[in-house]
Each structure stands twice: as C-alpha cells, then as structure tokens.
C-alpha cells in the first residue's frame, strides 16, 4: 500500500481559506465515510469479501477495478439499496442501515422519468421549495434554459447533467458516482469533469467515483483505490494541485502505476 501525503495541499487549502473566507462560501457538506469489512456474495460468487475503506470528510476518492469486480455492488451497499451480509457502513461515526437522505447515487445511465419535464425530474423528491432548488441546481449544471423540456429530447451529456442536478438538490454529504460519464464522448466527458470538480470544490461533499478510466481518476480524485478479488488492494494519494493539467508527467506516471495494479 502506498501513501504519499503532499504537504503543499494543506498549504494551498490554508491559503484558500484566508483569501476566500469573507465571500459567502457554502459550508462544506462532506461527512466521513467508513466502510468496515463489507461482504456480499451472489450465490456461490463472493463479490465483496471484507472490503474496508476510510474516507475523510470531503475527500474525493476514485475507485478503479476490472469489470464485474463488484464496484456497482459496493455502491449499492453504501447507498442502502442492498444490505451487506457482514460489515457495516458508518457515516460520521454513526452506523447506518437502509437508504440515507445524506447519501446520493448517480447511476451510469441518467434514469430520468420520461413523463416528467426536466424541472420536475430534478425536483423529483418534491421537498418543500423544490422548484427553486431545482432551478438553482439546473443553473449549476448549465441547463437553466431547458427546464421545461422533455428528457427525451436532450443529448446524452445533457441528460447526465440533469441527473447530476437531481442529486445536487438533495444536498448530499456523500456523493456516489457509478461511472456517470462512461457513455459520453471524450469532449463531453472533459466538460463534465470540469463541472463536477467545480461543484465538489464549492461544496466538498465526500465523493466516491467509479471509473474505468484511470486518466479520469487521477485528473479528479484526491485518492485512487483499486478493488480486486473483493477487497481493496491498492490505495494511493494523488498529490497534484488543482486545476490539474492532463499533460502533467507526474499524473502520467501515476496512471501507469495504477494500471499495473488493476
């Protein structure tokens, strides 16, 4: 296991705090997420076999692993759609069971309700004041002008942005992203990366991002972990300042290192 903490990162955030503090900065939403020995099998197939992970509040973690290794299964356990056979999920010191209002999951496909407008899809939970919250979230993802349209007429990238707006309305403390950009073209992906990074920097929700794309992982995350054989087998911090440059040789070297572990 490799751990490298970059001393500069603390400096940068301290700097930020000094220079930006007077402006109305949204309070960080993130909560500490701890996964303790999660086990889940389907029939004879042990998919997760005692997976543990400790994520500090507000950290951005990318999870990589081969197809079928159990990444989506892990997300379903964390969000509460499925229960582990053993182990538990702990949020801010509290063991949780079942669906949590502080945890939101963005699926690989947008899963918009075709019979609702973009706006009412975003405000699907219909919490008090949902309309204003939905409009705000839609402008955060740059779709404020499309709120009265049917989802069917949006492009793939736009749909995924609507789905992102929908999870943002819930003001999650823990945001789970299950390969949300997997189906998008390269240009749109880069756009979505920028959007996600900006939102995360603003709100600092604790984030788990599943991705097949190691370049995406090192471009966005504070930390990359690899899942293999039902466990966490590799864990590395990404010590690069933001905004990051894709051509950064340090990141490229990191990518190779991670790829060797997958």
């Amino acid at each position: 296991m490799l751990k490298r903490i970059d001393p500069r990162r603390d400096l940068v955030s301290a700097d930020d705090a000094v220079s930006v503090a007077p402006v109305a900065q949204p309070t960080p939403l993130g909560k500490r997420l701890k996964l303790e020995g999660l086990k889940r099998s389907f029939g004879p197939r042990k998919v997760l076999d005692g997976l543990s992970l400790d994520v500090p509040a507000g950290q951005f973690v990318a999870i990589v692993g081969r197809s079928g290794v159990g990444k989506s299964t892990l997300m379903r356990l964390v969000v509460g759609l499925d229960q582990p056979e053993e182990g538990r999920v702990v949020i801010d010191g509290e063991p949780v069971k079942g669906l949590q209002s502080s945890v939101r999951l963005l699926f690989q496909d947008a899963r918009l309700l075709p019979w609702h407008s973009v706006l009412s899809n975003v405000g699907i939970a219909r919490t008090p004041g949902w309309r204003e919250a939905a409009i705000e979230a839609l402008s955060d993802v740059g779709l404020a002008d499309r709120l009265n349209e049917w989802p069917a007429v949006l492009s793939g990238g736009q749909r995924q942005r609507v789905a992102l707006a929908r999870v943002l309305v819930g003001r999650p403390s823990v945001l789970l992203l299950d390969e949300p950009f997997g189906a998008l073209d390269a240009m749109t992906r880069v756009e979505m990366h920028g959007l996600l990074e900006r939102l995360w920097l603003q709100r600092k929700f604790t984030t788990l991002l599943i991705t097949h794309d190691v370049a995406e992982a090192v471009a966005l995350a504070d930390r990359v972990i690899v899942i293999k054989d039902g466990r966490l087998t590799f864990d590395i911090d990404v010590a690069a300042e933001r905004p990051r440059h894709r051509a950064d040789p340090h990141l490229a070297a990191l990518q190779d290192k991670i790829l060797a572990e997958v």
């Binding site: 759609l81 209002s101 939101r104 349209e149 049917w150 069917a152 999870v167």
Partner: protein, 266 residues
C-alpha cells in the same frame, strides 16, 4: 401526417376516395337496374333515406343513446375492476398468488358463451348487457395493467428510492405513469370487445338499442335499416378509437412518439 398532406396536390388527396366512391356508385347502379335484389342489399340511397327518416323520428338517436350508455357503463365497471386488480396484483406478490391463476382460468371462458346463463340470471334486462360488456372488457385491461406495472423499468424505481421517494410517491410518480402505455393498449382492446359484445348481446336479446333496431328491421325485411345499424356500429367503433387516440395524446404526451416540439406544454 398533416405536414405531408400539405404538400400534396388536390388530385393526390382525392385518390384514396376514388375506390370507395366508385364502389358506392356501382352498388347504386346494380340495385337500381335489379342486378342485386333489394331483399339482399338495399341501395346506398335507400340507406340514406332510412337514416334520414329514423333520425327525424328520433328513433335513431334513442337507440344510439341506449347502446352508448350500455357500452360506457359496462366499460366503466369492467375497466375499473380490471384496472384495480391489475394494479393490485402488479404491486403485490401475495395478491398475485391469490387472484392471478383464478383470473387466468376465468379469462379462458369466452364471455359470449355465458349469454344463456346471463339471460337466466338477469333476463333481457339492462343488467344483462352491462354485465356482459363488463366481463368482456375487464380482462384485456387487467392483463395489460398487470403487465405494464410488472415491466416498469427497475432502474427508475431504484433511482426514485435513492432520491428519497416513499412507496406511495414511487407508485404515483414512477410505476403508474410507466404502466400507462400498456394500460392504454388494454383500453384499445377493451373497446373492440365492448362493441362486439354489445352487438351480439343486443341482437340476441334486447328491446332497445342498435342491435334491437336491426333485428326488428330484419323481421320486416327492412334491409336498409339493417345496413344503417351496421354503419352506426362502425361509426361508433371509429369514434371510440378516436377517443383513445385523444387520451393517448394527452396521457402519453411525454412519449417521443407523441410530441413534436419537445417542450412541455401545460
């Protein structure tokens, strides 16, 4: 549709009418010169006269209203029962276990086969006709509602769950709208069965309604009224079809097949 026809010339638009109109003209000529006996088939003009006379006396409107009433009441009863059972069995496995196989067995009995029993139970009363229509329309709506609810995208239900929707909200906002296309397919089938049932039931036993009107006319060899009755049934069937199309456009406005612009109109 309309966009295409706008570009068509006058002749193009007349073409589809060419065949039916010539058939009518030919038919009229054949009956006039005696090639077809009136007892076999009345001339179109005679049917038109029969229509005019029956309309003037109010008899036609009376029979149509009676038939229409039976159809709607029967459909409302049968459709509601089918819909409620479909929803119930769709959302609840225990309910499905309890009801479904029984309903499947009943479904295999052709409902027109029970007409003799129905006459014994209810006589030739209104109840008999309404009962038959209700039984006939219940099953297509039941089956399609059940199927629609069972085949709602699981992904959408999960999405609703993780976004904090409760069971009722999931039902109203996800499951039911998702089942709607299928429910409407059931409604279409039901409408076809509704008219068919009514035609048979009214022809066999009734003292009013279009079926009665035609059977009565048959006794007096008024073939023109019989043909008129057949035409009225056809028109009512067409009207029912049109009504479902309107409902579909309204209920399935979100469906890409129904919206041209993409914006949600209020």
């Amino acid at each position: 549709m309309s966009r295409i026809s706008r570009g068509e010339s006058f002749v193009d638009r007349l073409t589809p009418w060419l065949l039916p109109v010539s058939v009518l003209v030919l038919w009229e000529i054949c009956t006039r010169v005696g090639l077809i006996e009136q007892r076999v088939l009345p001339a179109p003009s005679q049917v038109a006269v029969a229509f005019w006379e029956n309309a003037k006396s109010g008899a036609l409107a009376h029979h149509v209203m009676v038939s229409f009433n039976r159809a709607i009441v029967g459909l409302a009863i049968g459709g509601s029962i089918g819909f409620i059972l479909g929803v119930l069995n769709g959302v609840s496995r225990p309910a499905e276990k309890l009801f479904d196989s029984g309903l499947q067995m009943l479904r295999n009995v052709p409902h027109l086969a029970i007409i003799p029993m129905v006459i014994l139970w209810f006589g030739i009363d209104e109840t008999a006709k309404i009962f038959l229509v209700a039984v006939g329309t219940m099953f297509p709506i039941y089956l399609n509602t059940f199927h629609g609810i069972r085949t709602v995208d699981r992904g959408l239900v999960e999405m609703a769950k993780v976004n904090g929707l409760g069971r009722f909200a999931i039902f109203w906002r996800v499951v039911l709208p998702g089942a709607m296309p299928s429910v409407l397919v059931g409604l279409r089938y039901a409408l076809g069965i509704m008219w068919l049932t009514l035609i048979v039931a009214e022809t066999i036993s009734a003292s009013s309604g279009i079926g009665y009107m035609t059977m009565n006319a048959r006794e007096f060899l008024q073939t023109d009224v019989v043909v008129l009755g057949i035409l009225v049934y056809a028109l009512l069937g067409k009207a029912a079809d049109f009504a479902t199309k309107l409902i579909e456009h309204r209920v399935l406005a979100w469906h890409p097949a129904y919206h041209a612009s993409g914006s949600v109109s209020a």
